[in-house]
């Protein structure tokens, strides 16, 4: 089942009761989630991603716009009729029920011709438990489970009614680092096995990048960019997206284009064919630096951290915006840590230029400024 959001907007009344202003949580959001894909809704906290999830589940009603599941307009359909499974950030497992009772709960609520016999319910519950591999834990109470097990139980409860769409709110944020890695693989496997269109919300770009078929980057309630993770990483549409994706983060410099050359400080660090003249914001991915004594970009050397396969070179530059530049280079390149400076060549496809004021990505030869 694909999901289409059209012009989705959600206003909340302002917290300050006296002011008549509203908080715009989601602003004119439109995109399509293709059938059977795992989609990561990504953005900093307060960007409206959880609100978007609640709009899809039906827990919130949009102020404007509509939501389609396939061909059906579900904008006004109440949550229980939408056929969605929802996994909460804190899992919201009912603490007084066993895991089995938790999983059975949605089935017991079915009415009319959808009503199931006791045996069918138990079979479905066990199938769901098998899928997430918690069959041995069915008689336990949630408090007796580890975080990862609670997470699986919550997913089983969401899956048991065979939803058309599975929604997860920050599914990994309550887990410790090791479990997080393991669980995200698990999430991927469950999604693959069931083939259910799945949307999850996260503020952790690595999490989203690692398992999603598609990521949707949001900021201030609106869509910034969507696409396959690598696509978005390699071709960010603006400075925000470029900064938000990638770890270590992208290095940002003040620069200027003069006569189709990119200057950072006094140095022409790279050719910039077809770019118009003028000041720009330069973003360079950490892996975009290639140490080369005959190179064009000279930085002060702060330190060298060897991390096995890669080496992290920490540098400084007067035009750099932030604390310290981080370049990731192959350990085969010897960087002499005793020197005061290091000289790089830049990989053109790892360097992005942005408009100084709007942060929009600048592309060669297109339009005038």
């Amino acid at each position: 089942m694909n999901v289409i959001l059209m012009g989705l907007t959600k206003h909340f009344p302002s917290k300050n009761k006296r002011s008549k202003e509203v908080v715009v949580a989601v602003d004119d959001l439109s995109f399509e989630i293709p059938d059977g894909q795992l989609v990561g809704l990504l953005g900093p906290s307060g960007c409206g991603k959880t609100t978007t999830l609640n709009l899809i589940s039906g827990l919130e009603k949009p102020t404007a716009g509509s939501i389609f599941f396939g061909k059906d307009d579900v904008t006004t359909v109440p949550p229980e009729m939408r056929g969605v499974g929802l996994v909460f950030q804190n899992y919201a497992l009912y603490p007084h029920m066993t895991v089995l009772q938790n999983i059975l709960f949605p089935l017991e609520n079915l009415k009319g011709d959808k009503k199931l016999s006791k045996e069918e319910m138990l079979k479905r519950a066990h199938d769901a438990a098998d899928l997430v591999q918690i069959t041995e834990l069915l008689e336990r109470k949630p408090a007796e489970l580890s975080g990862g097990q609670q997470q699986r139980a919550a997913i089983a409860r969401a899956l048991v009614k065979m939803p058309k769409i599975l929604l997860l709110d920050e599914p990994l944020s309550n887990l410790d680092a090791r479990l997080r890695l393991q669980t995200r693989e698990e999430l991927r496997r469950i999604q693959r096995e069931t083939g259910i269109t799945t949307v999850f919300v996260t503020h952790d770009q690595e999490e989203a990048m690692s398992i999603s078929d598609m990521i949707v980057v949001m900021k201030d309630g609106s869509l910034n960019q969507k696409g396959r993770p690598q696509e978005v990483y390699d071709d960010p549409v603006n400075l925000f997206v470029a900064k938000f994706l990638g770890n270590p983060p992208i290095n940002v410099f003040r620069g200027e284009v003069r006569n189709e050359k990119l200057f950072i400080g006094q140095e022409a660090v790279m050719d910039a064919p077809l770019y118009p003249n003028g000041p720009v914001t330069v973003g360079i991915r950490p892996e975009g630096f290639v140490p080369n004594d005959g190179g064009r970009f000279t930085c002060g050397l702060v330190g060298v951290e060897v991390m096995g396969r890669d080496t992290s070179v920490v540098c400084s530059h007067p035009e750099f915006e932030g604390a310290s530049i981080r370049a990731i280079v192959s350990s085969e390149n010897n960087v002499d840590a005793s020197k005061k400076t290091v000289v790089f060549d830049l990989k053109p496809n790892k360097v992005f230029l942005f408009d100084v004021d709007t942060g929009r990505r600048l592309r060669p030869g297109r339009g005038s400024r």
Binding site: G58, L59, E80, L86, P95, H96, N109, L110
Partner: protein
């Protein structure tokens, strides 16, 4: 180290003196009193040791009346007040702006003097030669016959007592239940809604189990409190409760101790220990049930 130990006891000394003198010693003493037969307050002598005081109290018609009154009061007011408090708290949690106002109003009886407001209740319910009173006027409005609730039939007096008791104990229960309801994570309700649970099912399967520890706490303290009822009855029917037939067990204890019928600390002690036994038994039963039902 030794010095700090001594200092600690010094800090504790005032409370130890007060508690020892006015709680621990009396606790032992009340047992002794209850076993001393034929104790004379004036000469502070007694004629023997045994269970006669208990036998006397258990045969005393005034005591039996008090036990009956107390039990009726407990059986009616505990479920009614707890149920009503639950309904009101649910109502409060479902409305928006007016909630704080209602909460404040509902709490008012807690800070009032039981004796003073009881007097107002008496006047509202009382029938005098001059007037039938406020409540009887209302009954008349609906075509009923007027009743003297204060000096009339037993059921009417019991009704006023129960009504006043509920009025007095409700603020505490509403307060506890509204905060219990507010502390339930909203995600559980959202989850249940997505799972398609109806309003009633959410109430029965999610809300009640989630607040069940507080509900049981209220039921247990409600039983204990209702068994110790006394001032409410005095407020409505005056100090001579035996004459009004509205005495409670605690009232019986005090009457035995002091006043026109007083001077019998041994009988009072026996009655107090019987009351303690009743309350203790009921509390243990309550705890036993709650252990089985409440989900931690």
């Amino acid at each position: 180290m030794k010095k700090s130990g001594l200092k600690a006891w010094l800090y504790l000394l005032p409370s130890l003196i007060f508690l020892g003198f006015f709680m621990v010693y009396p606790l032992v003493d009340v047992l002794v009193y209850s076993l001393e037969e034929g104790y004379n307050s004036a000469s502070q002598t007694f004629s023997g040791v045994g269970l006669y005081n208990y036998a006397y109290v258990l045969r005393d018609p005034y005591f039996l009346q008090a036990v009956k009154n107390t039990f009726i009061l407990v059986i009616i007011t505990v479920p009614v007040s707890t149920g009503l408090a639950l309904l009101i708290s649910l109502g409060l949690s479902s409305i928006g702006k007016l909630r704080e106002l209602f909460r404040t109003i509902y709490f008012l009886p807690y800070v009032t003097n039981t004796l003073a407001v009881g007097l107002v209740f008496m006047i509202l319910f009382k029938k005098t030669p001059y007037t039938d009173g406020m409540v009887n006027m209302l009954i008349g409005l609906f075509g009923g016959k007027s009743v003297d609730f204060i000096e009339g039939p037993y059921w009417a007096k019991m009704f006023v007592l129960c009504f006043y008791t509920v009025w007095i104990v409700l603020p505490f229960k509403i307060l506890i239940l509204t905060s219990a309801l507010a502390s339930v994570n909203k995600d559980y309700y959202s989850a249940a809604r997505v799972d398609g649970a109806s309003g009633f099912r959410i109430f029965a399967r999610i809300t009640v189990p989630m607040i069940s520890p507080m509900l049981f706490y209220l039921i247990i303290t409600g039983f204990i409190g209702a068994f110790k009822a006394y001032s409410d009855s005095v407020a409505l029917f005056g100090t001579n409760l035996n004459a009004a037939g509205m005495n409670t067990i605690v009232g019986y204890i005090y009457d035995m101790l002091y006043g026109d019928s007083g001077g019998y600390p041994s009988y009072a002690s026996a009655a107090a220990l019987i009351l303690f036994a009743i309350v203790f038994t009921i509390t243990v039963i309550n705890l036993f049930i709650s252990r089985k039902k409440v989900n931690a």
